[in-house]
Amino acid sequence: MRTGKNPAKTGIPAYAPRQLGVALLVYIPSQEGYFQQSLEILRYQIDSLYRSTSQEFDLLVFNNGSCPNVVKTLQEWYEEKRITWLVHSQHNLGKAGAWNWILGSVPNEIICYADSDVLFRPGWLEASLRILEAFPQAGMVSAQPNFFDVLDGEGTAHLPLLNDPDYEFGEYLPPAEIIDEYCFGIGADEEQSAAFHRNPIPYIVNRKNNVRAVMGASHMQFITRREIARQVIPLPATRAIYRPETISLDRHMDQAGYLHLSTQENYVFHMGNTITDYLLNELKTLQVSHQPLPRPQSRAVEKRSLHYRAAAALARRPQMHNLFKRLYNFLFRVLYTEG
């Protein structure tokens, strides 16, 4: 039976999501072998996000059936308010299955997706947004130059722009250090590395605003608009990581007329599953450490009257908390029961 009036109906505001939502996909089924250092790497990722992102954001972590110790750690971070939304899936739904969830439900206007082994560097968001805003046809923008055409030359979204005088296309070879870092991150062998150093990559320029972007984007990390994210799902999802399924994201995006683009600089770095000296140096530069994770900035609260603010501040003092609690219970009894 309902007794009394639900205080949630008193007109208090609900939380309004921030413009940017960052969603991380976590699958750490054990802490051995391939995954031995994965939890620590995830911690570095979240730390780097908070340190390198210039605007407030909501953080969603999708736990895709990780092991109990990882669940426990994620829960601790959630309890410490480092995570806005924590989704626990009992089973591994696969990458595409998790994308269906994430791209369907994250409420923020701009959605950043990342695998759980991506390090973020300062400027990543500004550079990505600059491209997203400069190219109205942009569907997904990665913060690292793309070296691999996931659509194998079959993309069509850029074709209408080929003869548009406002756009210029070309090819270029990124600086060697950028290519080296990319190769290091993916564990490329010598032959693969040589090919990346040899083959130029395509770019596009919007002549109106003189913004240049690399053609192509990566599943590892990208930003997109919420409206676009909703259009490209659902994706087929029968296996954990299966290229024909994950590539359907790109196909849907391309078929809807949206471009895959990326930045020319390395604003993100693929940490992989192993902590290396290279990574440790990078962490030192970013001041990422083993200290507690940074907290998100609290949002400026709506201005209230002086009396209200004084009373609210008083209510939050530990000594007053019990008193207010007892008063609250007393008022509930007298207002809504015979008590």
Partner: protein, 315 residues
Amino acid sequence: MRVGQNPAKFIDHVAQPQRVTVAVVSYIPFLQGYYAESLQVLKACLGSLKENTSYPHDLLVFDNGSCEPVRDYLMEAQSSGQVQYLVLSEKNIGKGGAWNFIFQGAPGEIIAYADSDILFRPGWLERSVEILETFPRAGMVTARPLRTPEKFYTSTLEWADQTPDVRVERGDFIDWEVYREHVMSLGTSEQEAREWYNSRQDLRLTYRGVSALVSAAHFQFTAYKSVLQQFLPFEMDRPMGQVRSLDERINAAGYLRLTTCEPLVKHLGNRLEEAAPTASRPGKKLPLSARFLHIPWVKQGLLRVYDSIFKFYYG
């Protein structure tokens, strides 16, 4: 740096979501006052779901910023396998916000939604899905017969008028006791409940051998996800109070709003036991102190203090 091959690449098959996602939204900010028994109510809700839902389904719980004991209970339910998807929201994004999240993210083709103060009885999901699948353009099906304002089911009436194969019957198909059980659970007095009951009748539709009553409610319903997605997004600026718009939108879009003929869910409210009615109990005189506290201007003042305390902590 990546060393080795990710073993996940060799997983041939991942769990496929069930066709039906049962979704519950909880908001229990503390365990006093209005919410003193809400955790027990939530446990009764999820317990009855487990016991009385044999139809294959996944259970999704969206927790909208509840207190620690509630989160601990939900985590325990998730780790024991009772809850397949647990979404913990550190902030209360409102019911509309939770619906936006669930109706987009839930993986099932069908979503069976419920507030966290609903008790489920055997057969509730089977009957709901049966009606959903039988009646064309079924928008939402509530597993309990109700009497609600006609303006929210005009499309259902139109469909019934225009469909030759449907049998339409008007009468008292909801027993007084069934009606009373629900209306009293909302805190309504027996007298008011009786007046409402006497002022309306029910409409029963039978189509292809399946019967349903005309009405529905947003505290519990079963619907196709594709239908619900047409009405997103919902307003998110208040925790509650804007959810009536779902009823309006579904009706305005020409979808049917139906209920089962039997009461297969029950609204528990915020208390498990039926509390004694308050000052309206006939013949009983309140003590002087209680009468003073119920003087309108005194009560208003107390209510303001009561609401303010809640806002200090949760606003």
